[in-house]
């Protein structure tokens, strides 16, 4: 029997009246000094404070969630949570959440709204989209998405295809595209890889914020513990290569300060020694790689291999001059990395946010190939997807066919961004010019480009040209403030949503969010449900593409595939039984992970790991045919210095920077802290109050300057200073931090909101206000670490 306070009082009443009570009830009565029981429930969910996707056990008391813990056996977090996860209830209970649908009153961005009911709000969208479609202009719908999880991305893609617009920018990996592009060219892999921490011996990290801001954050934190003390007798090693002395660097066995943007060169220097000394995994190289030795193509033309290139151009001495790292150190790491197997080389923002990010990542991937660490125990895991059941094919009519085949507005997949999936930072100009066509309606889903993309003023000007903006955000962020209509979603504790973490633990797994409350805290709706309703309102083939009542039903259909596989942690005879067990457990996983699936997982033209990227070579040749330019001139257009075979092999390209050294002496590198690693925790006071532990900073921003450098400039700790780039300037507080490279300055990312609730707004500075837009054209992404700045006393 469940004992609530009311029942208890009744029982006590009964007892005093001298009525007989059954033994078990007497036993349950509180004795002197004992707790008075209340109604307590535990339910399961999945965290969304960052993209890790950790399993949550939610403790609710008298209906209301009061504490979050981790699910004990959930493969991602094994019962543990990071500070962001722990602060999650402050997202749910945020007093500044959007509580009901809002329609703009007055001017854009003015912040005056009127409350409207859902049954008026949704038709506003449906009717507009219907008219747009009837006019044959469905491609003028633009969707900017951000933190999609699970099938929400598939649902939005489906909507766009059925409706007929190619203009979906839904990349949830913004800022880390360089890493993904490197994996894509070498392995055809489109996900991040995670480390098999439990068995690895040596982690060589090129600027990966493993203990602060990395993907998957919880697996890395947990993994660090087990690397150090998880195995008797083995204390795994961590080497951190990074210009700034970060938390990860402070916990590493060895910190190697490096000239910014030269990680690729260092990786090739290490490769040089390993190849020269023949310390590489010869079996893996000969059976599972392509382009290591010199080779001849089908037409008999000979090409140089990785080995020849590296031995010729990247000796430790040559590399030492570029990177500023002593020759002995390079040789030492090369020796340790190749002899302490299983060893892995990983990368992070330091690599992915440079103009040479793609090539650097290819070089780092090559190191992993040399020691054969892909998909091996103690190596890097290629994430497997769960056996989902596919939704029925999308229904397309003539309008959607025509709309969907239009060129994208951001120029992704066109020169000079031939391999880009999307280029959001080009949108301001493209939207502003109305080229190749104007945008009529914009959807914003879990993204806030006015905060997260450099030169936000230009973006704002661009956005203002769009006649109708709809935001689905639960919070009043910068971009949502510009909306004409807000159809607020709830938080991650209030909705049905699946979650398959990429990267996760390697083996297939899927988590399931279910609403912790009977109904959301406010009058908000799951955007999945809203999207299905909009599709239904549009009728015809769009409606037929969404044969479900709501998101939950769509999820149930896809998860039937997992049920039918009869594998993994949940097995049941009936689907309903399976579903119930899934809701209770928070997720399903199949731990019998098949390591060594190279043949299946290397999705390249050769089916092997490609030192020489045929994907890149074929792609550019294709463009050469289409544009009647030769490949070398296309390379030039992509601002790549290398020519011929070298361009398709991992090599070092000098990073390009905005601003001259004489005017702007510092390289500006922003970094992320554990507290706001995804830039979204700024509206949670618990996270604000522990923001920067290394400098004991809270609730604020600062700029880190090397103490010696600051002294020569007459700047003291705590002085207000201006930081200025070619693009803009910001005023903040100087903090002298000895971990700062003398030629760099650093500002933490996550503050400087101009909206986003009372705790975030008007606090600190946003590094994006300084950044210019320089690109890694080959990878098709913005390089955030390419702006030079100057600093002076305010």
């Amino acid at each position: 029997m469940k004992i609530s306070r009311r029942n208890l009082l009744k029982m006590i009443g009964a007892a005093t009246l001298g009525m007989a009570l059954p033994d078990e009830l007497l036993h349950a009565l509180p004795k002197k000094g004992e707790w008075i029981p209340y109604d307590e429930q535990w339910s399961a969910g999945i965290c969304l404070q960052c993209p890790s996707g950790c399993g949550l056990r939610i403790r609710s008391v008298n209906h209301w969630p009061v504490k979050l813990e981790g699910i004990k056996d959930y493969p991602v977090n094994k019962g543990r949570l990071c500070p962001k996860g722990q602060a999650g209830l402050q997202a749910l209970y945020d007093p500044d959440r959007i509580r009901h649908p809002l329609r703009r009153k007055g001017k854009r961005g003015e912040g005056s709204w009127e409350k409207i009911p859902w049954d008026e709000a949704i038709p506003l969208v449906t009717q507009r989209l219907k008219k747009l479609r009837e006019a044959g202009r469905p491609h003028q719908l633009l969707v900017l998405g951000g933190r999609y999880r699970g099938h929400m991305l598939d649902l939005m893609n489906r909507f766009m295809e059925a409706y007929g617009s190619p203009n979906h920018l839904g990349n949830p990996y913004r800022g880390s595209e360089g890493i993904l592009k490197g994996h894509f060219f070498t392995m055809g892999e489109r996900d991040f890889l995670s480390i098999h921490w439990e068995e690895t011996n040596y982690v060589l990290s090129f600027g990966a914020g493993l203990l602060e801001a990395s993907r998957p954050s919880m697996i890395n934190l947990r993994g660090y513990g087990s690397l150090r003390r998880g195995r008797p007798g083995i204390r795994g090693k961590l080497v951190q290569v990074e210009p700034r002395f970060s938390v990860t660097a402070s916990k590493a066995d060895l910190w190697i300060p490096i000239e910014p943007g030269t990680d690729g060169a260092l990786a090739l220097g290490i490769a040089h020694w390993i190849i020269k000394e023949k310390r590489y995994d010869q079996d893996f190289i000969s059976r599972h790689t392509f382009g290591f030795e010199d080779w001849k193509d089908s037409s008999g033309k000979s090409h140089i291999g990785f080995k020849t290139l590296v031995l010729k151009e990247y000796s430790p001495r040559q590399v030492s001059q570029v990177t500023g790292i002593p020759e002995e150190t390079i040789i030492r790491i090369a020796g340790e990395f190749s002899s302490h197997r299983p060893s892995v080389a990983v990368s992070g923002r330091g690599v992915g946010m440079q103009t040479n990010g793609t090539y650097s990542q290819m070089a780092i991937d090559s190191l992993n190939a040399l020691v054969g660490s892909f998909d091996r125990r103690g190596g890097l895991l290629l994430q497997r997807r769960p056996p989902f059941q596919n939704w029925p094919p999308v229904q397309r009519d003539a309008i959607s066919e025509r709309g969907f085949s239009q060129t994208r507005i951001d120029g992704a997949g066109q020169l000079p961004f031939p391999f880009a999936g999307e280029v959001p930072s080009r949108l301001p100009e493209e939207i502003g010019r109305g080229e190749p066509y104007p945008i009529d309606t914009l959807f914003l889903y879990y993204t806030n480009p006015l905060f997260s993309i450099p030169e936000s003023e230009k973006f704002r000007t661009g956005l203002e040209k769009i006649p109708f903006i709809v935001s689905f955000s639960p919070f009043m962020d910068e971009t949502t403030r510009l909306a004409d209509l807000i159809l607020p979603d709830g938080t991650y504790l209030e909705r049905w949503q699946d979650d398959h973490p990429e990267p996760g633990p390697g083996f297939p797994m899927v988590g399931l969010r279910s609403p912790v409350l009977d109904k959301p805290l406010h009058d908000v709706r799951n955007t999945g449900d809203v999207l299905i309703e909009i599709a239904k309102g549009l009728g015809g083939s769009v409606e037929r593409s969404f044969p479900w009542k709501d998101m939950k039903e769509a999820l149930r259909e896809t998860i039937k595939g997992v049920f039918r596989s009869k594998r993994g942690s949940i097995r049941a005879k009936e689907f309903d039984e399976f579903w119930k067990a899934l809701v209770d457990a928070g997720g399903w996983w199949d731990e019998s992970y098949p390591f060594g699936g190279w043949k299946k997982k290397f999705n390249t033209p050769s089916g092997r790991f490609e030192f020489y990227s045929q994907t890149m070579e074929r792609g550019l040749s294709e463009w050469s045919k289409r544009s009647s330019k030769d490949v070398d001139s296309i390379l030039k257009e992509l601002k790549i210095e290398a020519k011929g075979d070298k361009a398709f092999l991992p090599h070092f390209e000098k990073p390009r920077l905005i601003g001259e050294e004489k005017d702007y002496p510092f390289q500006f590198i922003h970094y992320k802290l554990m507290t706001t690693a995804e830039g979204r925790g700024a509206n949670q006071p618990f996270l604000q109050e522990i923001f920067g532990p290394h400098l004991k900073e809270k609730w604020d921003s600062w700029v880190e300057i090397n103490p010696e450098t600051a002294r020569t400039m007459g700047i003291q700790d705590g002085d207000p200073v201006w930081v200025e780039s070619k693009i803009g300037k910001v005023k903040t507080k100087a903090r002298l931090f000895p971990g700062t490279h003398p030629k760099c300055i650093h500002i933490p990312y996550g503050q400087g909101h101009r909206a986003y609730g009372r705790w975030a707004e008007g606090r600190g500075i946003n590094p994006n206000d300084l950044l210019g837009r320089e690109y890694d054209y080959l990878g098709g992404f913005l390089s955030h670490f390419s702006t030079r700045v100057k600093v002076y006393k305010a």
């Binding site: 707790w35 008391v61 008298n62 209301w64 969630p65 009061v66 504490k67 979050l68 813990e69 981790g70 977090n77 543990r80 949570l81 990071c82 500070p83 996860g85 722990q86 602060a87 209830l89 402050q90 209970y93 945020d94 007093p95 203990l211 919880m218 934190l221 947990r222 660090y224 513990g225 150090r228 003390r229 007798g233 083995i234 204390r235 090693k237 002395f245 938390v247 402070s250 060895l254 300060p257 554990m674 507290t675 006071p685 618990f686 996270l687 604000q688 109050e689 522990i690 532990p693 290394h694 400098l695 004991k696 809270k698 609730w699 090397n706 000895p738 971990g739 700062t740 490279h741 003398p742």
Partner: protein
């Protein structure tokens, strides 16, 4: 309690978990900058050296639950005492806010309520009902999540058994992502914390003061360790 600094990543999950579990409100920008934010579990840091020879250390510090606590003896109203379980407990209704305990604590882990704890209305629903409310003008501190210990004790008593090793864990230890915090009975030779406290890596903070702290740290490993 044993905290393994070789596992600790300085992530502060313990800090937030503690605040959520124990209804420790946030101070806000102004008060936090005055050093008035309450962290029953606090992460302190130290940075020294010059580029590129820099050192940075992080240390999570809860109350040390000293066996000879310097804080209890100075309390004029016996609002704080060493309880039979070994926890330095604070009796909130008895505290009159003279703050002598705060100034006498060498570990600076006692916190004063300069204001009534402020919770926006919406947050109030998310408070833990097992924790005693604190008012303005009194001292509060870490008590190893005494509410969890009590609950476990009652469960054990009902089932007529002793508490099992690892059965109770404070919020900080429960959440620690890298499993750096261990909790248990230091008097029980079979417990994990007992074993760890005898490790060659074990040390205690300001041991020479004779406070007999009950939080052991395990120092970070060296390159050549195992």
């Amino acid at each position: 309690m044993v905290i393994d600094l070789d596992r600790c990543t300085g992530c502060q999950a313990c800090v937030v978990a503690c605040r959520q579990e124990n209804n420790v409100s946030f101070a806000g920008e102004k008060e936090a900058k005055l050093g008035r934010a309450k962290f029953w579990m606090n992460l302190i840091s130290e940075v020294k050296g010059t580029y590129p020879d820099v050192e940075m250390r992080f240390l999570p510090i809860p109350c040390m639950q000293c066996d000879h606590p310097p804080c209890t003896i100075v309390c004029p109203v016996a609002a704080t005492y060493k309880n039979p379980e070994g926890i330095v407990a604070q009796v909130y209704p008895r505290c009159i806010g003279v703050r002598m305990c705060i100034s006498n604590c060498p570990y600076t882990v006692r916190y004063f309520n300069w204001h009534a704890p402020s919770w926006p209305d919406d947050y109030k629903r998310g408070r833990n009902p097992d924790v005693y409310k604190r008012r303005k003008g009194i001292t509060e501190k870490c008590n190893f999540c005494i509410q969890r210990i009590r609950k476990a004790k009652e469960n054990a008593k009902r089932e007529k058994r002793r508490i099992r090793d690892g059965e109770v864990i404070p919020a900080c230890a429960e959440t620690c992502p890298s499993e750096a915090i261990y909790f248990g009975d230091l008097n029980e030779p079979k417990s994990r914390v007992y074993r760890l406290s005898k490790s060659r890596r074990a040390f205690r903070l300001l041991e020479d003061l004779g406070t007999e702290p009950k939080v052991y740290y395990l120092k970070e490993g060296e390159w050549n360790d195992g």
